[in-house]
Subunit: 121 residues, 2 copies
DNA sequence: CCTATACTTCGTCATATAACGAAGTATACA
DNA sequence: TGTATACTTCGTTATATGACGAAGTATAGG
């Protein structure tokens, strides 16, 4: 029950659902998510840790960068079905479609320019 | 997105998930849910209205009694998939199994005795 | 080493949510 | 036409959550 509730709670925040769907095309690092969500780094980090604890994302550290991605096929069925459900339910949502375009844009950016998100504040 | 978030939020509370699963064997009236959940009538009523707004349950009024049931096949796909997901995820949960037994017990009770839940407080 | 970078953790604040009891509404029955 | 019943709505309170900035940690590069 706790596992299930953690997943449901993780999915009950718009920014977390957006972040999750942004990973549909492949892994992203935190600074890319910060740029697209327009939230403070600490906020995004917290959101990702909630998604991670629910097993809805995997994390991989490479040097200074932390990459997040969707779960693989080995993940619990409960998790995979949740991801499926989200994708079916909101793939056509206005915000999610716009975010898909953002992912393409941000993926092309130079990382130096991208991580300017830290310098803004 | 809002529709999806309403469903996710509705599913992120243990008592609401329990109530939802209690309806698996068929419709129940509010006083039966009050008895099984062990919560105040106003609390259960609020929970059911949240589930209802998310379209996760249907409501039918018959005389003084309000009956709640799971959605039928005409419900939005998003809703049906959510219900499926919950059922697959927690059907074997200890609490949910125990609740299943409670449903059988309560269904056999005389309504006069049952609605004593109002007289307790 | 020392500094910059890329996060994460912590502390704080404002808002959201779950619980309750009291009061309100709608229906059956005397 | 009261009165009891079966909820629902409202107001309050305690706790949970999401946002931020400041401080902490880990890694790369000079």
């Amino acid at each position: 029950m706790l596992i299930f509730l953690n997943i449901a709670k993780a999915l009950s925040d718009e920014n977390r659902v957006r972040a999750l769907m942004m990973l549909s095309r492949g892994e992203l690092c935190v600074c890319q998510l910060i740029e697209m969500l327009g939230l403070a780094p600490s906020t995004v980090s917290k959101h990702m840790s909630i998604l991670r604890q629910a097993r809805l994302v995997r994390a991989r550290k490479e040097g200074r960068w932390m990459y997040y991605s969707l779960p693989d096929e080995d993940a619990p069925r409960c998790v995979l079905e949740a991801v499926q459900w989200v994708q079916n339910a909101i793939a056509k949502d206005k915000q999610i479609v716009a975010d898909g375009k953002q992912v393409k844009r941000v993926s092309k950016l130079d990382r130096d320019k991208l991580c300017a998100c830290y310098k803004k504040g």
